[in-house]
C-alpha cells in the first residue's frame, strides 16, 4: 500500500468518526469540532488519492487549498453563531423541541 492510499484510508476513518460525532454529540462546540474532523477526512482522501501515482495531481491539491479556507470561514461563522446562542440562552446546546 502506498503512503497516498494510507492517507486516503485514514481520511475515510476520520470522516466516519466525524459523522458519528456530528450526530451523537449535543455540545455545539464539540459538534463544530466533529464537523472539522469530517472535513479533514475529506481533504485527506482528496490529497491521498491525488498522489496515488508517481506525479501528484495538482487539481485536487488546489481544491483542498480552497476547501481549507472555506472550512475556516464556515468554522468561524459557526463559532459566532454558537457564541450568540450562548449569550442569548446561556446554553451550548440546541433547544430540543418535544413533539
Amino acid at each position: 500500500m502506498s503512503s497516498g492510499l494510507l492517507f486516503a484510508c485514514v481520511g475515510a476513518l476520520l470522516f466516519a468518526m466525524g459523522i458519528a460525532g456530528v450526530i451523537l454529540i449535543g455540545n455545539l462546540l464539540r459538534r463544530v469540532l466533529a464537523f472539522n474532523v469530517m472535513g479533514s477526512g475529506a481533504f485527506l482522501i482528496l490529497v491521498g488519492l491525488a498522489q496515488r501515482n508517481d506525479v501528484p495531481d495538482p487539481v485536487p491539491q488546489a481544491m483542498v487549498l480552497t476547501g481549507i479556507v472555506v472550512a475556516v470561514a464556515a468554522t468561524a461563522l459557526a463559532l459566532a453563531l454558537v457564541r450568540r446562542l450562548h449569550a442569548l440562552t446561556g446554553k451550548l446546546e440546541l433547544p430540543t423541541d418535544e413533539i
Binding site: A16, A62, V69
Partner: protein, 218 residues
Amino acid sequence: MKRFVVASGAMAFAVLLIGALLEPLPSGVDLRVAVAANMTASGVEHPVTAVLLNFRGYDTLLEIAVLLLALIVILASGIDTTSDRSRATSSILQTLARLAAPLMIVVAVYLLWAGAFRPGGAFQAGAVLASAAVLLHLTGLLPSWQAPLLTLRWGLTAGFLIFLAVAAGLLTQGSLLQYPPAQAGMLILLIEVGLTLSLGLILAGLFLFLSRDPGDDS
C-alpha cells in the same frame, strides 16, 4: 441504543469507503496531462498556483466571496453582552511578539512571491499575516476590532474587487477569467497581492471581531 446504531453505521460506512478506495479506480480523464500541457500559457511555473488562479479561477473568486460573506454575517450577528476575559500579558510574550510580527510580514511577502514557482501563494501568505495579527492581539498589543471603518472596509474587500475587476476587464477578450498568456503572470501577481491583503485582514477579522468587548472603545 442510538449510540450503538450510529457507531455501527459509521463503522460500516468507513469499511465500505476504504474498500472502494483500495480498488484500483479507472480514471476517466487524466488532469495531470492537461495541466502539464497548458503550463506554458498559465503565466506561473507551479502547477497548484496555475490551477488555483488560472485554470480554475472561478473557485478562487467564489472562495474569497464566501470568506467575505462569512465575515459580513459575523459582523451582522451583533456584539455579545457576556464577554469577560482576563488577558494574560507578560512582558516576555510581548517582546517576543514584537520581534516575531515583522518577521512574519517578511515571510508572508516571501510566500506570496514564491507562489509563482514553488509551494506558496496568496492563501499561505494571508494566513501568516492573519496569524501575526492574532498573535499581537493575544499578547495584548493589538486591541480587538470594533465596527470596520472606511479604510478597513476597503482593505477587506480589495482582494475580491481586484479579482472581479480583472475578471470583468477580460470579458472584452473573450470569456471570463481567461488571461492572455503574455500578461498572465502580471495579472496573477496583481490578483495575488490583493488576495493576500484581504485574506489576511478577513482571517484576522474573523478572530478580532469575534473577540470584541462591548465596553472596549479603542
